[in-house]
């Protein structure tokens, strides 16, 4: 049952907080960094009001390890940061993946490498979708493109994390974080009450448990890796998702996510207005990547244009999905630049010429 509560004008970063509150996040840990500061500040206020745990940690490393600690007690928990801070969290994310601990990590991306700048960017796609830390693992990666989705996907992130016992990345950027948009605050169906029979809360009336990622016995780690692989296969089967429009008669497909997909949406409308049959494929999960949808479309559509706010990262996944069936072109704007609608239109015209 979805009960509509109210519509509010809210900033993307604040929407993440409200989503977390509604999903039953019991502990938030964060460290200041632009352009995600509103999350930490608003969390301090909201978690206080709700009587839940808030700590401004000494570093992003500490924050993710606090998430690790709260998660192993069974509580829903999250942290947020922006690119440089997300790099520091990778150690902890790898340990969470190894220990099969759920948790939500929000990356309000900024330009990089290094300190980069504080504009929105999409340069952390590889980091998010390839595990990010050391070892053979994956995390689920959700890519919102509106403030509404910042809210909805945060809730979804908690549900997926618990369902699969996996860290989930909300992969967003500074533009979405800073943007104000109306949001329908719905009471979404959230499986907040996932039964957790693996947590550490003291061994009363049961055998002691351990949560660890060091598996030194002969073949033990290999077995664990295969077990994780099975989980990843299941997630690939069930959770890959994307939004498409105008695919039926398209001659060119634009693939884009997050902020850059908003620009591509406008471009597709302009192109359609000119009678050019363009369509948009917008992945909403970056891992698992919606490769089946893309490969199905690639059987009919012979030209793809991938648009990203980076030097080209998702384009590699598109190429893997297209698998040589069609030509894949790229237009990117790194370093906090935003792709221009008119350039997207021009690129499409060149491609189909």
């Amino acid at each position: 049952m979805i009960r509509i509560m109210h519509k509010i004008l809210i900033k993307g970063n604040h929407a993440v907080v409200e989503g977390g509150i509604q999903a039953g996040c019991m502990a938030y840990y964060g460290y200041p960094i632009t352009p995600q500061n509103e999350i930490t500040a608003y969390m301090a206020k909201r978690m206080g009001e709700e009587g839940r745990v808030f700590i401004q940690s000494e570093s992003e490393i500490a924050a993710i390890n606090m998430v690790f600690g709260s998660s192993l007690t069974g509580a829903r928990t999250m942290t947020s940061s922006s690119s440089p801070g997300i790099s520091l969290k990778q150690e902890g994310i790898s340990y969470m993946a190894g220990c099969e601990l759920p948790g939500v990590i929000v990356n309000v991306q900024r330009g990089g490498p290094g300190l980069g700048n504080i504009s929105g960017a999409q340069g952390d796609y590889f980091q998010s979708t390839r595990g990010g830390g050391h070892g053979d693992y994956r995390t689920i990666v959700l890519a919102p493109y509106s403030v509404q989705e910042m809210f909805d996907f945060t809730i979804k992130a908690f549900d997926l994390a618990d369902k699969y016992r996996i860290p989930v990345i909300l992969h967003t950027d500074g533009y979405l974080g800073q943007m104000y948009e109306p949001v329908l605050v719905k009471e979404l169906k959230s499986d907040r009450k996932t039964k957790k029979d693996w947590i550490l809360d003291g061994c009363k009336d049961r055998k002691p448990r351990m949560i660890r990622s060091l598996l030194m016995d002969e073949g033990e780690l290999e077995e664990h890796n295969w077990k994780l692989n099975k989980l990843y296969d299941k997630i690939k089967m069930k959770e890959a998702s994307c939004q498409t429009c105008f695919t039926e008669d398209a001659v060119v497909a634009i693939v884009s996510y997050g902020t850059s997909a908003r620009i591509c949406e406008s471009a597709v409308n302009i192109l359609r207005g000119k009678g050019i049959k363009a369509c948009l494929i917008r992945p909403t999960t970056l891992w698992p990547f919606p490769e089946k949808t893309i490969s199905t479309i690639a059987k009919k559509v012979k030209n793809f244009l991938v648009v990203e706010m980076s030097l080209g990262q998702m384009v590699e996944d598109v190429k893997l999905a297209v698998n040589g069936m069609s030509r894949v072109h790229f237009y990117g704007s790194p370093g906090g630049g935003i792709p221009e609608t008119k350039v997207v239109v021009k690129k499409v015209k060149e491609i189909i010429k």
């Binding site: 709260s70 192993l72 928990t77 003291g202």
Partner: protein, 246 residues
């Protein structure tokens, strides 16, 4: 009543043979932890955080809930547990590489926040698990695999006194340094650690006990010489006793 003269295994210790080298201090300290947890009747509400280091397998030896943190991060993990479950007993068990090198930020800030946790800090003056490298606690002139001519403070700094540093923070409640190199000191160490756990149970805040502990293999010494070395070299550098009792 338990016959005090009889050897017994505390309920909080599993019936598993540990992998510690002969003469190592970890086994003694594990047992002290287990005895105290039994005596305080908190086994079923205790959650321990094991470190990266020789004690990483502590979860095989302790008969209660145990997790394993990344190198140096136990105080942050313990914070995340304790804040959600304030009525449980949460402690970290950390070596000097873990706590006094890679994990300095985490220990200082957990202490400074006055987290109501207990820290079992094992100072054996080297990195044991990785083969006896220099630790921040290594003594001046002490030879290790990475200070083959002895630690030279000019290039490698001085033995770090973390307990004294933490005692200077308003957030800490109780800090004591003990040793486990002989029976008298083991008995005293148990008293100190029990007090530290009681402070947590009473909700009084951050408590830590630093244990000077033998590492004969890491020090390339016999067990007997290791005991002497603690007495003659380590204790003068790391004086025993209560450092803070607020």
């Amino acid at each position: 009543m338990m016959d005090k003269n009889k050897i017994y295994r505390p309920e909080s210790l599993t019936d598993v043979q540990n992998i510690y080298c002969s003469g190592c201090g970890h086994g003694i300290i594990h047992r002290l932890v287990a005895e105290i947890i039994d005596e305080l009747e908190i086994r079923e509400k205790t959650i321990a955080v094991a470190p990266v280091g020789c004690a990483v397998f502590a979860y095989f030896y302790w008969n209660f809930d145990v997790t394993e943190a990344a190198h140096g991060r136990p105080p942050a993990v313990a914070t995340g547990i304790k804040r959600i479950l304030p009525d449980r007993v949460v402690f970290t068990y950390q070596g000097d590489g873990d706590l006094a090198a890679i994990g300095t930020a985490e220990i200082i800030h957990a202490a400074n926040r006055g987290e109501n946790i207990t820290v079992v800090f094992v100072n054996n003056a080297v990195y044991g698990m990785t083969g006896g490298q220099m630790a921040p606690t290594t003594l001046i002139k002490q030879k290790t695999t990475t200070s083959p001519r002895g630690r030279n403070p000019r290039y490698s700094g001085f033995p770090i006194k973390i307990s004294e540093a933490l005692a200077a923070l308003d957030g800490t409640t109780y800090i004591e340094r003990v040793s486990v190199h002989n029976v008298k000191n083991v008995i005293n160490a148990k008293r100190a650690l029990k007090k530290a756990f009681k402070i947590q149970i009473e909700g009084k805040g951050f408590s830590m006990v630093e244990f000077l502990a033998m590492c004969p293999v890491g020090w390339a010494m016999s067990s007997e010489d290791s005991v002497k070395w603690i007495e003659e070299k380590m204790i003068p550098e790391y004086p025993l006793g209560v450092i803070k009792d607020a």
